[in-house]
Amino acid sequence: MKVPEELKYRETHEWVRIEDGVATVGITDYAQEELGDVVYVELPEVGRAVRGGEAVAVIESVKTASDIYAPLSGEVVAVNEALADHPEKVNEDPYGEGWIFKLRIADPAEVEALLDAEAYRKLVASEG
């Protein structure tokens, strides 16, 4: 189970990479493992304003549908269109090509509330 050090995490198993006020969001290696083969990702609309903790996307496997939550408040500025034809990227490369959406951060203070890699690892250990 990979948990890159440089990323931030939400307790609902999203990861966040922050660069120049823009957060790239995806689901963690642990999450994609639990989900099984991803068959479809329902992406949010570009331009949509989201609140931290709001369900903004849905990720489907054959037998389940899981909500993906915005880790921070902001505006969706990009979505990973490639997932339409290749949803398996979420399984194969969850932290790279399997990214789901990007948002422009509204309130940098919210970043404090995210988990670091260590805290996320502990969370997963306790869940298992």
């Binding site: 068959v39 479809y40 329902e42 849905v58 489907e60 496997s61 054959v62 037998k63 389940t64 549908a65």
Partner: protein, 437 residues
């Protein structure tokens, strides 16, 4: 007690295995206040007595040749439809959740989905809904979801009962329903505001008239709305289908394909959409795939749309749909083939046109529907249509359905390929008496 195989000895042995003596003990843990309520039901009967009783009940109905419509009509059904649909494997199967043992139903659904897509000239159809009315409600909800809007504009040419069901569904989610009046027997051009998500028209419409709605499709799309068309599936054998006129969603009542009238049910509703709306479809969908050894097979797909997975966020709560009725349609279409179906559609329309001419010869009867129409048409009668219907029934015919929403004296008639020239003449004679007298 019929159907349960247990002998008294077996019941005793099974109870003993559980440490019990009487069946009543299985209910001993229920609150005493609830047990043994007074329930009045008739004494049991055997099969023979039952069928005699039901024959007597059926005799209290009055038979007669049926010249009534509203999307349900008296059409010819080839004998093999009953034969196939009545096979125990199809009749008594559950929903095909275990595909390895359900390839029969799954492949039949796949064939059905294809046939509906072909008839409507759209890309994908689901495995069936309950009826034309609820199919319309689901189709409009789909359009509202896809456009994220909360208003639908619906022509009054759409079946009144479908509009009523639609109103029930839309009211529940707080969406707005605006009705557009007809001009005479057809939908006029109308402006579509940019808060409208669904524009709905029916063709052939409830008065039987064929509408061409390609301009309405353009108006809807220009406003960012989707066009939902209600279409009689038999008419699509010959008439320009929704997919060739810019429709995004097509829905309708499937009864004319292989299902008996049966007082209005059970039948099935169909829904078909263009490709981009696939994931918004409610209900079951069957996909082709392969098994572990490369054999072609079929399986329920995209289940994450449905209630058992998506729960509160499902496209619809629909679970059981109308599979056996849709199977009847599938076999019906295979039995007739495209030429046979076209023949039935043309014969139906020709009979309707002939009936129209005959009935207009009666004194005081004026047309409400103008040609071209398909299987059904409306007339203005010089007398209360309810009375005319009643008199016709006494004479052994069923026709003249009162449709007061469309004006005084308005009545709906239908014909089908089953009506011979003699049938039409006989009905016309009875009609002259009922109307003029």
């Amino acid at each position: 007690m019929p159907y349960a195989p247990h002998t008294e000895a077996e019941v005793r042995a099974m109870l003993a295995d559980l440490g019990l003596e009487r069946l009543e003990e299985l209910y001993a843990h229920l609150p005493a206040d609830l047990l043994d309520p007074p329930i009045e039901l008739p004494e049991p009967m055997n099969e023979d007595a039952l069928l005699r009783h039901l024959a007597e009940v059926a005799a209290r109905n009055r038979p007669g040749r049926v010249f009534l419509g509203g999307g349900v009509r008296d059409h010819f059904v080839p004998a093999i439809v009953d034969t196939v649909a009545g096979r125990g494997e199809f009749l008594t199967a559950y929903t095909p959740y275990q595909p390895e043992a359900s390839q029969g139903v799954l492949q039949a659904i796949f064939e059905y989905q294809t046939m509906i897509a072909e008839l409507t000239a759209l890309d994908v159809a689901n495995a069936s809904l309950y009826d034309g009315a609820s199919a319309l409600a689901e189709g409009v909800l789909l359009a509202l979801r896809a456009t994220r809007r909360m208003r639908a504009m619906v022509s009054r040419g759409v079946h009144p009962e479908y509009r009523q069901v639609l109103a029930t569904y839309l009211n529940a989610v707080g969406a707005d329903l605006q009705e557009v009046p007809l001009e005479g027997d057809r939908t006029p051009a109308f402006a579509v505001a940019d808060d409208v998500g669904a524009v709905v028209v029916q063709s052939p419409n409830f008065l039987g008239a064929i509408e061409s709605y390609a301009p309405l499709a353009e108006a809807a799309h220009a406003a960012g709305a989707l066009l939902v068309v209600v279409a009689d599936p038999l008419s699509l054998a010959v008439l320009r289908p929704p997919g060739e006129q810019g429709a995004d969603v097509a829905v309708g009542e499937g009864q004319p394909l292989g299902n008996p009238m049966s007082l209005g049910g059970p039948h099935f509703g169909y829904i078909a959409v263009r490709e981009g709306l696939l994931r918004q479809l409610p209900g079951r969908l069957v996909s082709m795939t392969e098994d572990a050894e490369g054999r072609r097979g079929f399986v329920l797909a995209l289940s994450a749309r449905e209630q058992h997975i998506r729960r509160a966020k499902a496209r619809s709560n629909i679970t059981t749909n109308a599979q056996n009725a849709a199977l009847r349609a599938t076999v019906h279409l295979a039995a007739l083939g495209p030429e046979g179906l076209k023949g039935v559609a043309l014969a139906t329309a020709a009979a309707a046109r002939r009936l129209y001419q005959l009935l207009l010869e009666a004194g005081g009867v004026r047309p409400l529907t103008r040609p071209p129409f398909f299987a059904e048409f409306a007339l203005r009668l010089p007398k209360d249509p309810a009375e005319v219907r009643s008199l016709l029934a006494e004479a052994g015919y069923h026709g003249a359905y009162p449709i007061p929403e469309y004006g005084e004296g308005a009545a709906l008639f239908a014909a089908s390929e089953r009506m011979t020239e003699d049938d039409l003449l006989a009905f016309a004679r009875a009609f002259f008496v009922a109307v003029g007298g």
